[in-house]
Amino acid sequence: METGIPHITTEQEPEWIALPPGLLKMRRLLLVVWLGPLTLATGLVPGLLAGPGWAAFAVLPLALLIWGWGMLERNWRSWRYAERADDLLISRGVLWREQTVVPYGRMQLVEVTSGPVERRFGLASVQLHTAAAATDAKIPGLDPAEAERLRDRLTELGEARSAGL
């Protein structure tokens, strides 16, 4: 078990929801798409032009690829969110951890976005806006149906608990 933010014991632990695996798949694919050809290029070009020893340059992007492969999973695992009675919790980050709490009454706008790559993988992100721009509450890589459910639920809860500036 990783050390870090200790779990609070005084209240009941909220029901954390993890992200579906689609986001991990997408990020890994992007990683391979970028670093795979780079590995080949750094291996082949110096290897063919300057001698086989120079192909060792390829080790660098390859190591990055392998390291990134593992890190992406850790990062993906660290993302989770919980809908509590009065606020939404978002927790993320492996080395630099961040937890955000947004009371439903403070939400001004809930946005569902989905880029072309995300759509290809059937993913959507939910972004919450409050009056404070510093509120950085985004949940990436959700199932579109879940994203819409979340949006509708947050809107509904926000309406019920709405408060001003």
Partner: protein, 517 residues
């Protein structure tokens, strides 16, 4: 017809603050250009924009959506439509000196060009004959006058029961409807020349309004009357009487004597910094380059900055007066340009008490405040601590400024994360505010009322985790965050949860947006 109308409806359903009359259909298509906050319908977010219930003062992300308080629409809505609302809306024009404000613009362009490129300007000037000069004048002056006149002629404003409407623009017409209950502050500003002419600018601070939405210029008396009327309407006085309510009586809380202000500026680190930097940099530069132009190019901005941070501050903060009225806080200041700001009750998001090192012996503090959408962030430039705390007690009712001894410092192990300065961090959460302090020499204590907290965040880097500490950030509605740094990790998690809870419940006893209802 269908095009603009359809867009209009999208806008409506997205919760824009527009109150259209019942007869929606009758927009004139003409000139209904692509000006209605582009990208409205494009958001998938159902969003909170959707409920625009009267009285709950959210501002729906005006920045993103271009909606919310100030709604811009293309032209095409004429007075006729407003009349259809039942009550005729009286449209007014700005003060007739307004055209002069723009008349100097072509001149400024010429001067700017001459300064930017002096050689070229001289050559061009020597080539000019009297005739060409006269012709140029004969063309330029009427053109400038015509532009000034037309922009004045096409600017109208009107006060309705719930909104201030500003209609402006010569070619690109725009209409801003500013919801009165969303007012965060009203500024009446009188630049020096405007004081001579007896006019003033009036600006409503609402999230999302910009420079164009200020009313410049109005007659000085008219500006005061309009401010009183807007505040009365925003406060929730009956529409019929709002016009006659008049200015709310103000009671002076604090006035900063010029001598104290001057001494405080002398005791500011920045003043001494400039005194050291300017006499060192300019001779050094001269020795290094022996080029007059380089010295001038560096020296003039340097002197300008030095002047702005010392003399400029004195001129702006001169005769700083803080008053209290049923309409909220009044801040008046300025030696040459006079500014009068009114902040209605319950609009202050954060208060910061800043205590520079050199002021500590005299017990002076500077008090800053955050109001959403307002450009001013100063409440008291300098005052003795007790007086400043008394003012804070009036600005944030029920809030007591916690004493330094009440603040809990960072744990000792935090010194590995932030050496030396860890001693400056402190935090206390009272029943009314979240108070966090930072700084060793220049101490700054920020107070955020629980009701103003928009979200709470906890962050922890790897190094901090190894030491078992974490930071708690509290975000307010004026786009500022207050951070309690390097708290014990267990405490920080508990704080995160309990602060979210307090933020939610703190709202219950907040005053309504229409503060007189």
């Amino acid at each position: 017809m269908t095009g603009p109308e359809a867009r209009e409806n999208v806008g409506e359903s997205a919760g824009l603050g527009v109150h259209e009359g019942p007869g929606q259909g009758g927009h004139e298509g003409a000139g209904h250009g692509g000006h209605e906050g582009a990208g409205h319908g494009g958001h998938e977010g159902a969003g909170h924009g959707e409920h625009e219930g009267a009285g709950h003062g959210e501002h729906e992300g005006a920045v993103r959506e271009g909606s919310g308080q100030s709604v811009r629409k293309g032209a095409g809505q004429s007075v006729r439509e407003e009349v259809r609302e039942g009550r005729p809306v009286i449209e007014r024009r700005l003060h007739p000196v307004t055209p002069l404000r723009r008349a100097w613009a072509p001149l400024a362009v010429l001067i700017g060009w001459a300064v930017h490129d002096p050689d070229q300007a001289q050559r061009q000037l020597s080539r000019l004959t009297t005739t060409t000069l006269l012709i140029a004048l004969a063309v330029l002056l009427p053109a400038a006058a015509l532009y000034g006149f037309l922009s004045w002629w096409f600017t109208h404003f009107a006060v309705t029961d719930t909104e201030l409407r500003v209609r402006t623009g010569l070619l690109f017409r725009r209409t801003a409807h500013i919801r009165l209950e969303r007012i965060q502050a009203i500024d009446v500003t009188q630049p020096l020349l405007a004081r001579v002419a007896g006019v003033a600018k009036l600006k409503l601070d609402v999230i999302g309004t910009d420079e164009k939405d200020e009313l410049a210029y109005l007659g000085a008396e008219e500006a005061r009357a309009l401010r009183a009327e807007l505040l009365a309407r925003a406060a929730g006085f009956a529409p019929e009487t709002a016009h006659e309510v008049g200015e709310a009586p103000a009671r002076e809380l604090l006035r900063v004597p010029p001598r104290v202000l001057a001494v405080s500026l002398v005791l500011t680190g920045a003043t001494w910094g400039w005194l050291v930097v300017v006499p060192v940099v300019i001779p050094l530069l001269w020795i290094a380059t022996h080029s007059l132009w380089t010295v001038l190019a560096v020296g003039v901005p340097l002197l300008g900055a030095a002047g702005a941070s010392t003399v400029g501050r004195f001129v702006t903060e001169y005769d700083w007066t803080v008053g209290e009225s049923p309409d909220g806080l009044r801040i008046d200041h300025g030696l040459l340009d006079r500014e009068h700001e009114t902040v209605p009750p319950g609009r202050v998001q954060t208060i910061r008490i800043v205590e520079p090192w050199l002021w500590r012996r005299r017990g002076w503090v500077r008090v800053e405040l955050d109001v959403a959408g307002s450009s001013n962030s100063l409440l008291v430039p300098v005052a003795p601590r007790e007086l400043a705390e008394a003012v804070i007690g009036r600005v944030l009712p029920g809030v007591r400024v916690p004493a330094a001894s009440e603040l809990a410092g960072a744990p000792r192990r935090a010194r590995w994360c932030v050496p030396v300065w860890w001693r400056g961090y402190g935090l206390v959460v009272t029943e009314a505010v979240f108070a966090a302090r930072h700084g060793l020499l220049r101490r700054s204590l920020a107070l955020v009322p629980h009701a103003k907290v928009q979200s709470v965040r906890l962050s922890q880097g790897p190094w901090e985790r190894a030491r078992g500490v974490a930071n708690v950030h509290v975000d307010n509605g004026a786009n500022r965050s207050v951070t309690a740094r390097l708290r014990d990790a267990e405490e920080a998690v508990a704080l995160l949860r309990s602060q979210a809870e307090r933020s939610r419940t703190g709202r219950r006893d907040a005053r309504p947006d229409r503060w007189m209802t």
